[in-house]
């Protein structure tokens, strides 16, 4: 046996090429089935009644008139759900309010009816009496001692006495002595930065189709980033055994973290249970914006000390993130990630998790990191420019490298930060001339990347084609990547392998498609499953040849005698071994189950040129280049796509996107017209440079690539706009009115 996956200079045959994706034809012809595209016989339409108040006590719900309407088959309120385990109590409360509604759009009741028209009519017949309570939607207001309180008694012991009960938790990271570091500085930049809440903005609204029999067995079709998570969460909420609920993931029309939690699914199951018929639920866009997603809005204080030659002597940040109506904002990840690109002697971050009367924050691509990077990278830029220093050189001088003790604790193995900075320095973008009213900005970003529970089953069919079953919804081409890694490992053509996303009944537990984990962890499991299949195929060949299985090796898609002493036999291809599998012991498969460790952290540097219109305050992105370490780019086109997509989401966050609440606590822009994500005419091409510093924790060196790309753009654009405007911009979005106000304030001063 020679299954050596430690070869340092592996020559790849499939990995690194750009084959067509296996789901391509379905997606360009309209055949692909997304969440809302499924039907079932006798299917009902489910709809949700939502709170018109930001904060109110539910005094009474009377659904008798709705129940009496012809065509209404079930009505569900919180009273239909029993007591649930503590770890899903907030999830249920978010899906269906209990005593109180906590934000505009919070679900209070649901109906299942014979048609959408009947369902709409039924919702209007449900009478809800509210006792309206004072509300708070701003993070800095919510932490004040006299702010309206959402939850009593949820505050953790880490929070000092005297703070509002809306402050749920405190986190702290870092090392060294900040005060001592600041004393060594020639300049200290100290500023407060603010970012608005944004939504993931996936184009496909949440949708599911639930059926449940009177025997308690249920099936769910759903667009989600993790159908195993959906199964486990719904089973806990409905008091079911996990094995009795089979969840199938539809094609998913974008998620970006926003589909890592449940919203409709437990309600759809409960409606299906009560009605005894399948129930399909699809959110409207305004429901998506009012009740799902968004990110935290934040308020962040930063203090950076720098010597006149650019050495950062101390870095401090205090981060306040509101996570909406329930505990769990990603402030800890912001606090861990903000200084992660730098090798600092003195660094400290404090994070405060705050609740407000907004929808509960869901993960959004590198959750928590872009806002922290915006604040910290802006401050570093200001400090560097204050001394007239090159912002790339300052980052290189302070940049983290192999052996650096990260601001959040661990010591880095081989990492790619400096490679991205060096590539940026050499790129023609960096030396291109700028015109009037134009500015150039750079910023770095970091993301952890994750591994987690993963199962892959790889089966050899009798004719020698290979099927790979994995349990992670394919959100950006992962079926292609898994197919490529299986083909690479088996030494067979890409087209000989087909990868499918299996339902929850077909594999063991799989962690959600999040944390940029899939290409790393599922790829790892795919390679290991292929290795297991290869080992078995070598054993079968040995059996046929009558030699020791140790005397057989696998190379180029065939079993071969390993060396001259093994005997002289012509190679047996995978297809030949498959054809005789039944006679050599039965079907051949490989599988691998693992809690994958060794995900490699990833870094990026972004560079952007902007032009300001001084009359309107609007910002045009002129040129954009992403430099990011992918470890090993399995399918470079999809890696580029992740870089480009993340950068453009960051552009939207920096310039346009914002949750706008009125004084009444009602979301004022719950639609794509007023919540404006970037459109094609806003943008230039997004150039990409893929760096490949192999991750030692993956056989092919793969790192996750999906999330890091949204971390630097907020700061890079703010640095560019600040340069063009001659004013430091400290608040996002840098919308035209805000930029105009900054320009006018500067002109007046």
């Amino acid at each position: 046996m020679a299954l050596d996956d430690t070869k340092k200079t592996r020559e790849f045959k499939v990995v690194g090429t750009r084959p067509d994706r296996p789901d391509g034809i379905d997606k360009v012809t309209g055949r692909a089935r997304f969440g809302a595209d499924m039907v079932a016989p006798g299917m009902l339409t489910g709809r949700i009644l939502r709170s018109p108040h930001a904060h109110a006590r539910i005094v009474r719900i009377d659904a008798s008139k709705a129940k009496a309407l012809s065509g209404v088959k079930a009505v569900v309120t919180r009273a239909d759900f029993g007591e649930v385990p503590e770890d899903v109590a907030d999830v249920l409360d978010n899906c269906m309010a209990g005593d109180k509604v906590l934000y505009d759009g919070h679900a209070v009741a649901a109906v299942a009816a014979s048609s959408p028209a009947v369902a709409r009519k039924a919702l209007k017949l449900i009478e809800v009496e509210y006792e309206v309570l004072p509300h708070v939607t701003d993070v800095d207001e919510a932490i004040k001692p006299d702010a309206p309180v959402l939850h009593e008694g949820r505050q953790q012991e880490t929070v000092p006495e005297g703070m509002s009960q809306n402050v749920i938790a405190r986190s702290e990271f870092g090392h060294g002595d900040i005060e001592a570091g600041l004393k060594q500085a020639d300049r200290v930049v100290e500023r407060t930065y603010r970012t608005a809440a944004t939504h993931q903005g996936y184009i496909e609204p949440h949708a599911c189709l639930a059926t449940m029999g009177s025997d308690g067995r249920a099936d769910l079709w759903v667009c989600t980033q993790g159908h195993y998570m959906v199964r486990n969460t719904c089973a806990a909420i409905l008091g079911m055994e996990q094995g009795q609920l089979r969840v199938t993931a539809s094609e998913i029309g974008g998620g970006f973290g926003g589909k890592t939690v449940v919203f409709l699914e437990p309600v759809a199951l409960m409606l299906a249970k009560k009605a005894g018929r399948p129930v399909k639920m699809v959110m409207s866009r305004s429901e998506v914006l009012r009740a799902t997603g968004p990110t935290s809005s934040t308020s962040i204080d930063v203090k950076i000390g720098m010597t006149k030659d650019g050495k950062i002597t101390a870095g401090f940040a205090e981060l306040r993130y509101q996570g909406g109506a329930y505990p769990g904002s990603p402030v800890d990840m912001g606090a861990m990630s903000g200084f992660a690109p730098y090798d600092l002697e003195n660094v400290k971050t404090l994070g405060w998790d705050v609740v407000t009367n907004r929808p509960k924050a869901a993960a959004y691509r590198a959750p928590g990191a872009p806002m922290a990077a915006f604040a910290i990278e802006s401050a570093i830029d200001e400090a560097a420019k204050g001394f007239g220093l090159d912002p790339l050189e300052v980052r290189l001088m302070n940049g983290a490298d192999e052996g650096t003790k990260a601001s959040y604790g661990p010591t880095y193995p081989a990492i790619g930060l400096k490679a991205t900075l060096e590539a940026a320095k050499l790129h023609p973008h960096w030396s291109a001339p700028l015109g009037e009213n134009q500015g150039r900005g750079v910023a770095c970003g970091f993301w952890f990347n994750f591994g987690g529970d993963t199962c892959v089953s790889l089966n050899i069919t009798p004719d020698g084609t290979v099927t790979v079953s994995e349990g992670n919804p394919d959100i950006g081409g992962s079926r292609a990547s898994m197919t490529m890694m299986a083909a690479e490992e088996l030494g067979i053509p890409y087209d000989q392998v087909r990868t499918i996303i299996a339902d929850t009944g077909s594999l063991g537990q799989n962690e959600v498609t999040d944390g940029s984990r899939v290409t790393f962890a599922v790829g790892l499991a795919t390679i290991k499953a292929a290795e297991a299949a290869k080992k078995e195929m070598c054993r079968r060949a040995a059996l046929v040849w009558g030699i020791d299985e140790e005397a057989v090796e696998w190379e180029d898609g065939a079993a071969r005698p390993a060396g001259p002493n093994a005997g002289k036999f012509p190679p047996m291809t995978l297809k030949e071994i498959a054809a005789i599998a039944s006679n050599t012991g039965g079907p051949i498969a490989g599988h691998h189950e693992v809690n994958a460790e060794g995900a490699g952290v990833s870094f990026a540097t972004h560079m952007v040129d902007v032009e300001l219109d001084r009359d309107t305050g609007s910002t045009k992105i002129l040129r954009y280049t992403v430099f990011q370490d992918a470890g090993k780019a399995v399918h470079p086109s999809y890696v580029e796509g992740q870089f480009q997509g993340g950068a453009v989401q960051g552009i939207g966050w920096a310039l346009n996107e914002e949750y706008i609440y009125g004084d009444d606590g009602i979301l004022q822009n719950a639609g794509f017209l007023d919540y404006r994500i970037p459109v094609a005419s806003d943008l230039p091409m997004i150039d990409t440079v893929i760096l490949e510093i192999p991750n030692p924790g993956h056989p092919y060196g793969v790192r996750g690539v999906g999330e890091t790309s949204i971390v630097p753009p907020l700061a890079a654009i703010a640095n560019a706009v600040s340069e063009a405007a001659g004013v430091r911009m400290t608040q996002l979005p840098m919308s035209p009115p805000r930029v105009l106000a900054a320009l006018q304030a500067k002109a007046e001063s």
């Binding site: 012809t29 094609e251 639609g671 091409m685």
Partner: protein
């Protein structure tokens, strides 16, 4: 409720359906005719995922009533390929990785086809403005714009 009887042509086929007066063309396509390739992203004409061509004109099918389809000629994504022969735009989108999740793809393809029918040699700026009504959250549009430009060049060479 009395339903309306509508006779229309969809992807070249004579088609009859019954609908409520309030049903949009998108509702009819998806829920009554099973043509779920046309997607609903917003229902308010802001995202373009439901783009179809009506008598050769690009429209958001969520902004048109099903009853208004009477006597019209409607083209949806399901009619874009000819048998198993993909339209050059479809082929190019796959080759150039111009889709990630794919939910906006049908609408973008229908819109891009409509552009190339009018303008076989669009500039990058023309493509960007023509597709400004089609939201894509995954790609940052880069590969989409390139794929449309490249298809246009291929089609010009072929004609």
């Amino acid at each position: 409720m009395s339903q309306l009887h509508v006779t229309t042509k969809i992807n070249g086929d004579e088609t009859e359906f019954l609908c409520e007066a309030e049903d949009t063309l998108l509702d009819v396509l998806r829920d009554r005719l099973g043509l779920t390739g046309t997607k609903e992203g917003c229902g308010t004409g802001d995202c373009g995922a439901c783009s179809v061509a009506v008598d050769g004109r690009l429209v958001c099918s969520c902004l048109m009533l099903g009853a208004e389809a009477e006597g019209r000629d409607i083209a949806t994504i399901e009619g874009m390929a000819t048998g198993d022969q993909l339209h050059p735009l479809q082929q190019k989108f796959i080759e150039m990785a111009a889709l990630q999740c794919g939910i906006c793809t049908p609408g973008i393809l229908v819109a891009a086809q409509s552009l190339l029918e009018r303008n076989p040699d669009p500039s990058e700026e023309e493509v960007r403005y023509w597709l400004a009504g089609n939201l894509c959250r995954c790609t940052g549009y880069d590969k989409i714009i390139r794929a449309v430009m490249e298809t246009a060049a291929d089609m010009r060479r072929a004609s």
